[in-house]
């Protein structure tokens, strides 16, 4: 898995929510968590399969793994960026200007 202790992984269950709510929940969890920690998002909305990787790319986070979740849906494990990773805004034409 990873070098982060299980207790440090924030789990967000967004199953039953439609896009863009899983990504909004993921963003909230990212705000609560310290840089470098992992967030485990559970989602069953089909759009999450595209939008979670896109969100990671735009925000400079790392999508560590994608796997079927126990009890249904998909588990997305995201490692939050650290200061050293930069803010991710240089990729594509993303902007975080405000």
């Amino acid at each position: 898995m990873s070098d982060v202790e299980a207790s440090d992984v924030e789990v967000v269950d967004a199953r039953g929510l439609l896009c863009p709510m899983p990504v909004i929940e993921l963003q909230r969890a990212a705000r609560r968590s310290p840089p470098g920690h992992e967030v485990r998002l559970l989602a069953d909305d089909v759009a999450a399969a595209t939008d979670v990787p896109a969100w990671c790319r735009l925000q400079g986070h790392l999508l560590v793994s994608t796997s079927p979740a126990a009890g249904g849906g998909t588990a997305y494990v995201v490692r939050l960026r650290t200061k050293a990773d930069g803010d991710g805004s240089s990729s594509a034409e993303a902007s975080r200007s405000r």
């Binding site: 896009c19 709510m21 990504v23 705000r31 909305d45 089909v46 896109a54 735009l58 034409e93 975080r96």
Partner: protein, 388 residues
Amino acid sequence: MPLPPPGYLDAASSEPLHPAARKVLATEGTDDQGWADPARLYGAGRRVRLQLDQARESMATLLGCRPDEVSFTASGTQAVHLAVAGLAAGRRRVGQHTVASAVEHSSVLHALEHLQHVGMPSEAAPSLVAVDPLGRVDIEAFAAALRGDTALACLQSANHEVGTLQPVEEVAAVCRAREVPLVVDAAQSLGRGAPPDGWSVLTGSAHKWGGPGGVGVMAVRTGVRWRVPGATDDRGDARVAGFPYVPGIRAAVAALEAVTRDAPAEDARLAALTARIRATVPAVVADVEVVGDPDRRLPHLVTFSCLYTDGEALLRELDRAGFAVSSGSSCTSSTLEPSHVLVAMGALSHGNIRVSLPRGVAALDVDRFLAVLPTVVQRVRDELGGPS
């Protein structure tokens, strides 16, 4: 130059009727004898026949082909369906496999899927070729997908959702070398610059270039093995059955002639306006991704996705503010499937807005749109509880 209604920024769905088309419909569409059967030999019939033949010749000149290669259809979708089904019928002995880019218009994908229902299901499953993050198809992957039993291949001239131009000439050369006929869906690009080259069958839709609805075009190159896929009739056009609406066809041709004539200047003006949108949106709205190729693209179309919003809510708020745009997001729609184009590109699929400028659009409309957009996005984010 047309004068589209203020706030109408959805030309990729349908271009407002061009004045040249309006004029033809107002005269020939209400002509005392314009309803006559062009297949009949009396005076009124012959006159309509002459009008139809003239329209076919003008269309051939516009498309860069021969008049006998041109057929008028009842829609762009019908043209695509006939193009695909006719090649599949003509190449039945070769096989039923098909190849297309993963970002084709749904009419192409539906036509290819339908072959599976009428043919050999597993062998006929279309190979959908991947695109890069800008939405451009991979030429080598396209070549690699062609097989000995490939009946036909399809490639759009430009993508309808993100505006990226496809490498039609390169893919056409690959298909020609492998003797696989290529359908080019030019619905989004006809009337904008030179028509595509290298196609075996070309399709288009009049209401995308300012012609009326109910008119599509299909051109089949001489020598291409295309067979009528369904029931035929005894009328003049051996490819498309049914009585044609000649005033509509004439209006469609008049519009295409007019927009083609104006294209060099108008395309440059629209490209500058969409470039302004591409540059301004990320500067005034946080967490936005502008998608599609920034350079090799349609002049009038720009697409972006706003994180933490939903496309339908954005459309609703923009409509309230007086703007008509469209969205590749379908977050809350009945299908629940995100746009296959955005998915294939790996682009953010939610909060998507496609702006497509109609010919003659006022620059002021673009400025007004850019002025209201930040407030609209923030309102939707607030509703959903996203970041502010």
